[in-house]
Symmetry: C2
Subunit: 415 residues, 2 copies
């Protein structure tokens, strides 16, 4: 994309509640724009990150046989009455009344809707197991919206729901989902730990929270420095420096951002909402359910928290808005302009997301914008371009390299 079309301004105006550095970078780099407390627009740069995270989520969930669908945000009160949550949910549930005085919730989660959709359809053990997911906008009227996308009132989530005829089927999906989540967060460049968790108001028997380690996190995680071992009841009371119970590494404590959670729901919703199937013996049984969430916008926030320096974001490779940023030193110099455009076209046609800075700005402005945008590879096209030489720099390296144009392209393809 050409930068003149990007609507990527930089601003120093950062609202006083933006105390987290990731929140400041989101606003300074025009990734998002706040519309009201806890409500944001995703500007083009921010949306590209969101779409990249979504693509990873989609790929990993489809790989374990989950199928995508899309449910509405408006949910009729009647279904929440069936589960009992209309009365139980409290002030965080946003509610409204339509022109005919029918009451609706703006969904913070979709257990009621999905159970309504599958009941009477998933009516035989032959049709089970099945896992459905959606990537969709959720609503929660937080008392104290904060840290930008971390605790918002309108936010993007992936939520998945599984339906099984036996506990063994649920166990398998739960483990598949755990493995998929580990792949997802790893590909998103997060340092994280899966942690045993309480099931809370969603209900159910077993749950794992995926915590991205971060100082702005709201929970404390007790984990092993060397292994994946974290915070179940065995370790929760251990102090920093003690040996990990699995024998690998020592105990550390850290703050964590919850970026995902998986639940064995069991029959809580299928019983209250009468979603039954015929088992092999011809008997009616309630569907055995699981639910599995990822906060897409929160993953973005956690990725910035963990990947930045004082100049801006250092995006993990797979979720960077652009892989390559081409910056001509002087866009009015025909040679530089031509070479930059040729490289831009060649990389773009090869499927590499490339941003071309076609603006007539000072080099200093362009380089500091490039740092804020944080593309993994920056290519500066300057005076030496006439001799076929460009400067290539990795965002996370301190030194730049001088390369021939062909070597620079080769480097990008192999990166």
């Amino acid at each position: 994309m050409k930068q003149s079309n990007l609507f990527a301004y930089t601003t120093k105006e950062v609202s006083s509640d933006a105390t987290a550095l990731s929140h400041q970078l989101l606003l300074k780099g025009a990734y998002v724009k706040q519309i009201a407390s806890g409500i944001y627009s995703y500007l083009p740069l921010g949306l590209r990150v969101i779409r990249n995270i979504e693509a990873i989520v989609r790929e990993e969930l489809e790989a374990i046989g989950a199928t995508e669908m899309l449910m509405p945000a408006l949910q009729p009160k009647e279904l929440w009455d069936e589960s009992g949550r209309w009365a139980a949910y409290g002030d965080e549930l946003m509610r409204l009344t339509d022109r005919n005085d029918r009451e609706f919730a703006l969904g913070p989660t979709h257990e009621e809707i999905i159970t309504y959709i599958v009941r009477n359809v998933l009516n035989s053990y032959k049709k089970l197991p099945l896992t459905l997911f959606q990537i969709q906008t959720k609503y929660r009227d937080e008392m104290r919206p904060r840290f930008g996308l971390m605790r918002g009132r309108e936010f993007i989530m992936k939520d998945a729901y599984s339906f099984s005829s036996t506990d063994e089927q649920l166990d398998k999906i739960y483990l598949d989902m755990k493995a998929a989540y580990i792949n997802i967060f790893t590909r998103c460049g997060l340092l994280f730990r899966p942690v045993e968790a309480l099931t809370g108001e969603i209900g159910g028997s077993e749950s794992i929270e995926f915590m991205a380690l971060s100082e702005i996190g709201e929970d404390t995680i007790v984990y092993s420095t060397e292994s994946d071992f974290a915070a179940n009841s065995e370790v929760a009371d251990l102090a920093v420096g003690e040996p990990s119970p699995d024998g690998i590494g020592t105990i550390a404590h850290a703050k964590g951002i919850e970026v995902g959670q998986i639940f064995k729901l069991g029959t809580k919703y299928s019983e209250s909402m009468k979603a039954q199937f015929l088992d092999q013996n011809g008997r009616n049984q309630p569907l055995i359910m699981g639910c599995y969430g990822i906060g897409i916008s929160r993953v973005m926030m956690a990725a910035i928290e963990q990947n930045h320096d004082d100049k801006g974001v250092v995006w993990p490779k797979e979720i960077a808005p652009f892989s390559v940023h081409i910056v001509p030193v002087d866009i009015k110099n025909e040679t530089q302009k031509d070479i930059a455009e040729q490289m831009y076209i060649s990389l773009t046609e090869s499927g590499i997301t490339t941003l071309l800075d076609d603006r007539d700005e000072r080099l200093g402005v362009k380089l500091s914008d490039a740092d804020l945008i944080g593309s993994p590879i920056r290519i500066v096209v300057g005076r030496d371009a006439a001799e076929g030489i460009v400067e290539l720099k990795l965002r996370n390296a301190s030194e730049a390299m001088q390369n021939t144009i062909e070597d620079a392209k080769k480097f990008v393809f192999e990166y």
Copy 2:
């Protein structure tokens, strides 16, 4: 995808308000499921169509230099007060109050939000023109929701907004957008006409509606049978059979579904909301705006209306949920199962969206489901598969062809 994962049931239960055949097919084929009046879930099949339409829209808009972003559905009253529309909009605007008694609208359109976002940023003629778009969920509290996705209360739209410093810039974007819309609706397989329109409550000076011809349409279009000429003031009063004023073809009348509309907004919002830029003479001027909508879910509805027979949908090639449907006659026959799976893997790996019917069902059930799903190409793997022969049938053809497996694959690749 394997059909056992698809959640593609077929049902004969169709609600009594589903009078349009397209609406009946949507429900019967499990493309969507109604949650409340005018509020639908997109089931996996329906979502695939929506995503295909979105991909076409994205591609054509990016080709004219528009850039994607994403705005929230929740819009604070204060911004609608600035434009004067909070008071003017009436009962179709869904409204709610948060836990702190702040009022919000659920956006039916985003002029206020986009104007708020660009003001003070697009502050110089040097930054213009710029076109931004989003594909997002909209809300409108319709008095009479009907025809399924055609007049819903929660629906998916593409809305774009352009900002210019001169009328000439606006004229160019408006014509580029018109051309992009023609490409989009053509690729979606629609028979449509662009028609001059009134600007209505959105405001502005000039507008074109894109009308898909259909008996369930709510407007009458007067158009030429042979050319693109339609219904401006010159032809609005002409009777059927009269010669078209452009000399090509004769006049016909038809009902139309509005699938898109483009507007020259002018300065209506930039004046009331004070979104100004410095012109070349250093003077403050209001931004000159345009807005451009496409009803994504309505395009799906119109495509079904125009492309079906008594057995189901006959999807246009580019928006079909799957391009190829492979149906083994007997999934328990190892030869048929192996050949079907090999073809499925081979086509899928080549990037062709392929559905494999891996269910243990009677052939009749599988074939009638295949007709309802409407993939352009169906491949039946039966007894002759042992001799390397499969049956290939186009959804819109009456006769099937016997092909070798290799020829069938070749046919698919070249289709």
